[in-house]
Subunit: 368 residues, 2 copies
């Protein structure tokens, strides 16, 4: 995460993992989610926070989910079911169930299939937000598999040369195990930045960097610009641009990758795509590849270690002190946050205090 | 393709598809490639030219292949074989066979597996250049499948914050069928631009655009710059940067996507990765997903049509007259080139005349 989007150290309230898990589990229980699923839901959210992926942790997502349950938009007790199945594939109807609960179950099916025939691939229709996509991909790691996850989201991103959003931020995640090194974990929106960066920039009073958004006529803004403020005119729109920002810099590639997510997570789920008229739902795609189905697993993991070290030992560019690999910042954040707690903005802690009061849950996150 | 990299209309010599196929087939025969594979090799190359993907057609690739066969670096009669296999997967040793010939055979295996268990996924080690990655992905289309292809190439691209190339241009291709509309076909390097753009810029005397390459110390150059000239000092290095160009614009995403290709096409093939010390080979990855294994095929295709039209009908941004979808420019180029011939630079036609003379092949491309 860019420094500018971190909670300032002097503002941060550090919260430990265990009471956070307990509190989040309790909140899901109060939402009517079946007892056995509440710990899973908490695990998806808190794992994001522990890995430093604050955008998909409790502070950004939990209140949206609570609102979704309260408004009846999320189904707390979905009757999700497999609609179609082959030895390597399945298609699931999520019955408006929250993705953070249904998608891990879909991934378990994919892993089971991969253990039998080498690959398992599952698409999920009529679902809702799945949290941090890499959570589901990482489920494959302990099975010595490669895991992947994509999700087709509601539109907010412009196609290259377009002036109206037609695609979601449509992230792609892939996790692959190594031997001694922390696993490779990639997880990124196919837009230049994730959607919530606009809100964060507004809240933190910071500018948007060049190449993040377009103006109202679809022209990518290639200098710094104030974030859009709803109800006020401004140069920046809230239209994100695909990874690559402009055609010359390769935005047609970010656009195409976003399309792939719309096809695999959306169209191939049978539930339509992000920009489907009147469609409030998300379509998801998960897959697991058994390493042993292709080659010796130990040799794969040893080669991954060698490859990871090769990347880490790249001589750094001028002005930088090291080269990272995808998954390394999150592994380092995990070490820090397990030791020192998860840094929350005081406003997030206040929300927890309020919601615990509202739902009659004991407040245990901080002493105060 | 950006206008600046097209052969100028006034320079172009238009060549028809049929004699080009015949000539390329004859050249492969002279290289010692088995008779039954020569038409396939020609099909991969000429399909690129017909689709307007000049970078991977005969003008850029064929002479490299001829050189590879002549130097014994390419094996004209590889004993390629399946090393490991499950119902949904296979791993192939290509025995130094050219990818444009071995990878279609691997894709046939993937398609066969997908028709039985829903998904087929094949990795290929110890191989060589596979031409236009989307050729292999597109093989799935006539089987009502989604096809995908990746290839882990020798290093030329910097990791984010790195000052030495560690990754190849590592392209990703995916093809999905529609009903009435030309298919969705995405095929792009995970670097900002493909490697041969540097040579092309040199040849055409044009500048490199901002965000395409870094300087010798790994700093991305964010303004226009003269292309590097071997043996002369210059500001630009020949180090490409990942899609996204800079960290702020999201280059860690292009970098991570390139890593995914290195893992799936390289490490998971068992043959190592692009930057493996002393490794001259390419590792490939192909997969086919049966649409019917997930949902009704006709419904998928109809939804693809609707989705494609939704993208095409996006109101264009200021200064643009339409929004394209991946595969559309190539479908339009095919129509034009089938009607009017493939435009070659005269220098390419000269090369054909020379090589035909050298190999005692009748020269049939142009009248002269």
């Amino acid at each position: 995460m860019l420094e500018r989007f971190k909670v300032k150290e002097e503002d941060a309230v550090r919260v430990s993992e265990a009471p956070l898990r307990q509190t989040v589990t309790d909140i899901f229980k109060k939402m009517g989610v079946p007892e056995e699923d509440c710990g899973l839901a908490a695990d998806v959210l808190v794992t994001s926070d522990v890995r430093g992926v604050d955008s998909h942790g409790v502070s950004n997502m939990l209140r949206t989910y609570v609102q979704g349950y309260n408004q009846g938009e999320l189904n707390a007790r979905p009757n999700w079911r497999v609609l179609r199945e082959t030895p390597a594939t399945a298609n699931i109807d999520s019955d408006r169930g929250l993705g953070i609960i249904v998608v891990p179950k879909a991934m378990e099916i994919a892993i089971e299939k991969a253990s039998k025939v080498g690959v398992g691939m599952v698409t999920i229709r009529n679902s809702r937000h799945l949290g941090m996509a890499s959570y589901h991909a990482m489920m494959a790691l302990e099975h010595d598999m490669i895991g992947t996850c994509m999700t087709s989201c509601p539109p907010g991103v412009l196609p290259t040369f377009g002036a109206e959003p037609r695609l979601g931020t449509n992230p792609i995640a892939l996790a692959a195990p190594a031997d001694k090194e922390p696993p490779f974990v990639f997880d990124a929106a196919t837009s230049t930045v994730a959607g919530n960066k606009l809100g964060l920039a507004r809240r933190l009073g910071t500018v948007l960097l060049p190449g993040w958004v377009a103006d109202e006529e679809g022209e990518p803004i290639m200098d710094e610009v104030a974030p859009p403020i709803p109800g006020y005119a401004g140069r920046a729109s809230s239209f994100l641009v695909p990874l690559g920002s402009t055609r010359e810099l390769g935005s047609h590639k970010g656009y195409g990758l976003s399309c792939i997510v719309d096809i695999l997570g959306g169209v191939l789920s049978g539930g339509g795509y992000g920009a489907n008229p009147g469609r409030p739902n998300f379509g998801h795609y998960v897959a697991a590849y058994s390493i042993e189905a292709f080659m010796d697993t130990q040799e794969f993991k040893r080669t991954m270690d060698e490859w990871i070290r090769m990347l880490k030992l790249t001589p750094p560019a001028r002005g930088h002190d090291r080269v990272l690999y995808p998954g390394q910042p999150e592994a380092e954040a995990t070490e820090d946050r397990r030791a020192n707690g998860i840094p929350f903005h005081p406003e997030v802690v206040d929300w927890f205090r309020d919601i615990c009061g509202e739902l009659s849950i004991p407040y245990v996150l901080t002493d105060a």
